[in-house]
Symmetry: C2
Subunit: 151 residues, 2 copies
DNA sequence: ACTCGTGCCGAATAGTGTGCGGCTCCGGCG
DNA sequence: CGCCGGAGCCGCACACTATTCGGCACGAGT
């Protein structure tokens, strides 16, 4: 994981579809060298994949929210089951098992406020292990797609 | 945004680096047709970009957390300033402006628990507009990289 | 029936990915 | 000090790919 690897990672985070030649030229190395590095990064698990970034509105998802959920009892089995159930739902974009007052943070993405409400009462309230939840509608968000190594 | 467009979006969310030919063959259309569709999706803003998915551990980020922040006063100026300041920090992966008890949700990614603590006391406590915060360490997470249109 | 517009296709060309042999650099060791 | 071995980078050649463009088919409107 030297300077060249970091640079490759940085570039591919920003634009995963630039040609290998362009990437190599930008970093000042030969295409073959660059290709070999990229393949090693893949093999080592540093690069886990390449994904298109899609506008949620185009998929009819105009409302996003975080739902904090408290489970009862917070046992391994309950947590795993809930996590799997949530993740399987199309409205759910991400699931986080967290420490603190709440046990879960579920990132949901739905067409409308009505759909959010339906989701909450049909998919959460209905589940016995849900001891309580609180939802935070997202007004604005900014995600980073480039992360540098720390330290 | 017909069935073919949706299929293209689905495929490119899963693997943004597959060749146009492979994509076309998988969807049963000619490569030239497929290419034209992809370009239109780009132009329409449906496809916003292509990003490599990088293992955070490889970038020396072994601890992730959500930090909920309450601001004082929650005015537009304070919110915008805080958002920009947070987003500029390398430890911050995402910033969400939310409704509810808290005003912000900051997704941070750091090398260690010590680094998280340092971040909290050096970057948050220090800021005057921060009226309070609560951090939730992420034990486990699952993100989806494929989202289908809803309804 | 005719025309126009839209979208798809297939072929041709320019450009790209990929494997491989050889080169250079550098550290270890006699 | 000279030699050896390995690692990493390079450039070339070939197969494959992206991209452009003219043409065709289909459906709507007149």
């Amino acid at each position: 994981m030297d300077e060249l690897d970091s640079a490759i990672v940085r570039e591919l985070q920003q634009d995963a579809r630039q040609t290998n030649r362009a990437l190599a030229h930008r970093l000042g190395v030969a295409p073959s060298t660059c290709l070999e590095r990229v393949r090693l990064l893949h093999r080592r698990g540093v690069i886990r994949g390449y994904h298109a970034d899609i506008d949620p509105a185009a998929l009819n998802r105009r409302v996003e929210a975080f739902v904090s959920v408290q489970l009862r009892p917070p046992s391994r089995q309950v947590i795993e089951g809930f996590k799997a159930a949530m993740f399987a739902l199309p409205q759910v974009m991400a699931v986080y098992v967290v420490a603190g007052e709440q046990d879960f943070l579920v990132h949901v993405s739905v067409p409308s406020l009505d759909a959010l409400h339906s989701f909450l009462i049909d998919r959460l309230t209905q589940r016995r292990e849900v001891a309580g939840f609180r939802s935070q509608i997202i007004y604005d968000s900014a995600r980073k797609n480039v992360a540098a190594p720390l330290e």
